[in-house]
């Protein structure tokens, strides 16, 4: 099983999920993949399906309409995985608190491992977040 752990750490695949964000964090996540930051040099790859993902990047506060879809997507992600809440809204709903259509921050619905606050976080901070998530993989293995 060592080789799986190794490859997961060396080349984590990410799935990006927008649960009602304003697109800022989403743009920054795509930005991280484009030439300026190019996280593919670390083997990080954005995947089209949650079934292929090791890292789930969640942006935005959870809206009522998205709630059940978020649960479903999380169930589809193979375990072990890490969930990174990107942005202030995903961490704590930010300035949308108190709205009728907001359920709450992401960790109210699914467990979150790493938070990246910022509105939006700089792409560098998102890279830090993913790096921190990989540390978690390492810690899990030694358990």
């Amino acid at each position: 099983m060592k080789i799986f752990d190794w490859s997961r750490r060396k080349s984590p695949w990410a799935f990006h999920l927008n649960t009602g964000s304003c697109n800022n964090c989403d743009i920054e996540i795509v930005d991280v993949l484009t030439p300026r930051f190019d996280v593919e040099r670390f083997g990080i790859l954005l995947q089209g399906s949650p079934r292929h993902a090791d890292v789930l990047l969640v942006t935005g506060p959870v809206t009522r309409q998205v709630l059940s879809r978020l649960r479903r997507v999380y169930e589809q992600v193979p375990k072990p995985n890490v969930v990174v809440a990107v942005g202030t809204c995903a961490t704590s709903t930010g300035c949308y608190e108190g709205s009728y259509n907001i359920v709450g921050p992401v960790d109210r619905v699914i467990p979150v491992d790493v938070y990246v606050p910022g509105c939006p976080p700089r792409p560098q901070a998102i890279i830090d977040g993913v790096v921190a998530a990989l540390e978690k993989f390492k810690a899990e293995r030694s358990d």
């Binding site: 809206t63 009522r64 309409q65 709630l67 009728y100 259509n101």
Partner: protein
């Protein structure tokens, strides 16, 4: 907002006057009053049963574009403003009407002006103003499990 040059001001003002005269003649006693805030904003107050004729005049004769419809909760009634833009003149003509809160309803204008489709659906969802004759009054914005008779932007009391 910057003032217009003298020449274009005359042009715009004559257009506003023409528009209002037209509306007055078509609507008859359904036309209440009008006011012009400045050379870019005109408000026309009408009775709520005149909206379809009003839209016909604006859209077919004057080539106006529907920008949006705003509903405002005013305790016992809803004010509904249809904001039309006349692009050539840079003018926003707002057609103002109101409907009582109890059994609030208006005539749908979607069949004359397809652009009103989503806007009317949104108002129906958020304020509970029914649009009679709307072709597809389904849910657009609120979630699937949102209760039928609750309207988020309607104030209580």
């Amino acid at each position: 907002m910057l003032p217009l040059t003298a020449g274009s001001l005359v042009h715009v003002l004559s257009n506003i006057a023409l528009l209002i005269e037209n509306l007055r003649s078509v609507l008859g006693d359904r036309f209440r009053k009008h006011s012009t805030r400045n050379e870019r904003r005109a408000y026309v107050y009408i009775r709520k049963d005149g909206i379809r004729d009003c839209v016909r005049v604006l859209f077919d004769q004057f080539g106006a574009r529907l920008s949006t419809i705003s509903a405002v909760d005013r305790k016992f009634k809803f004010d509904v403003l249809y904001h039309f833009t006349l692009d050539q003149e840079g003018l926003v003509a707002s057609i103002c009407l109101s409907t009582p809160k109890q059994a609030a309803s208006l005539d749908s204008v979607t069949d004359i002006l397809p652009a009103a489709n989503w806007i009317e659906r949104e108002i129906q969802e958020l304020f509970g103003i029914k649009f009679a004759g709307h072709p597809s009054p389904g849910k657009l914005l609120t979630s699937d499990d949102w209760p039928e008779d609750e309207y988020p932007l309607r104030r209580i009391g």
